[in-house]
């Protein structure tokens, strides 16, 4: 079996830090996201996720950690696609869950997380950053 590689992308002003660890089963994305072309940034990550989820066995527990102070609308579209893939895996019996950390002083960040959660079935915890 070909093992899936660890993905690490350093954050910039307009793109988040990405750390997808297929051994620990922790996929984290932290930071602002408003690149010129969000699809170009997220497409390889979506492909990675497809392969990772296809290989994932039912025993492993995957945690998706999101901390997104600001995401523009095209990035939001990409996150929606990503979360739909995860939700699909959850419906197939895989143990995937989201942990979203937000800044308590910014209610918009909380609203953004809640709006994603509304349409999904997978476990989705929304926690203030201070609780970390």
């Amino acid at each position: 079996m070909v093992s899936i590689r660890h993905v690490y992308i350093e954050g910039t002003r307009s793109t988040p830090e990405v750390d997808f660890d297929p051994e620990l089963h922790v996929l984290s994305i932290r930071g602002q996201s408003y690149p010129e072309n969000a699809f170009a940034f997220y497409e390889p990550l979506l492909k990675w996720l497809d392969e990772y989820l296809a290989d994932l066995n039912a025993e492993s527990t995957v945690e998706i950690e999101l901390q997104l102070p600001y995401i523009n609308t095209t990035s939001t579209k990409c996150f929606l696609m990503m979360l739909e893939k995860l939700d699909e895996a959850f419906k197939q019996g895989k143990q995937v869950g989201v942990r979203w950390l937000y800044d308590e002083d910014n209610e918009s960040e909380l609203e953004c997380a809640e709006e994603f959660k509304e349409d999904l079935l997978l476990p989705f915890r929304i926690l203030p950053k201070t609780a970390e």
């Binding site: 307009s14 969000a38 523009n72 800044d103 918009s108 960040e109």
Partner: protein, 180 residues
């Protein structure tokens, strides 16, 4: 002579409460520089985080929409003139903080754009949310201008307002204002 005119320029900016103004061709890098600068400035004024977030976010959507339009139209005869015509301001007036941006636009694009905004202005916040979710699901991520407008309308405290100045030669100057 610009030196003789600076006082007039400053008066105009002050009369409209303009904090920051950029005029000319927009690039992703400029959008980031200006966006982050405005954010730090507003943070130093101790404005509520939510308000700063809304101003920043509308600024990004508005400028990226203009930039995407300029990129899309860059092959046309008027592409260069249109790209140079971008102007964006952030300020504060009697209604609150605002982001107001303008650019030249071709006639057929203008009709589509104003049609979209007219449709948004009639919706309340719940309807905007439903429409946003619906469009986000349908939307092709590579052409997301419509969702950006809905997002601005949701974050603004009063309906989006636009103006059109016909300039002939198939061109108009279009402005969009969002109040937070």
């Amino acid at each position: 002579m610009i030196d003789k005119q600076l006082l007039n320029v400053q008066k105009l900016l002050q009369d409209h409460g303009i904090l920051i103004c950029f005029s000319g061709r927009l690039s992703q890098q400029l959008i980031e520089e200006y966006g982050e600068a405005v954010k730090s400035y507003l943070e130093s004024e101790n404005r509520p985080k939510n308000e700063i977030f809304h101003i920043f976010s509308i600024f990004i959507e508005m400028t990226q929409n203009i930039k995407n339009y300029c990129t899309r139209i860059s092959g046309s005869a008027l592409g260069d003139q249109i790209a140079q015509s971008s102007i964006v301001t952030i300020g504060k007036d009697g209604q609150g903080s605002y982001i107001c941006a303008g650019n030249l636009i071709e006639e057929e694009d203008l009709r589509e754009l104003t049609g979209r905004i007219d449709a948004l202005v009639r919706l309340n916040k719940d309807e905007l949310k439903a429409f946003y979710k619906d469009q986000l699901k349908k939307n092709d991520p590579q052409n997301g201008a419509g969702v950006g407008l809905i997002d601005m309308a949701r974050k603004a405290t009063s309906p989006l307002a636009y103006s059109v100045t016909k300039l002939g030669n198939n061109l108009s100057f279009f402005t969009l204002k969002a109040v937070v």
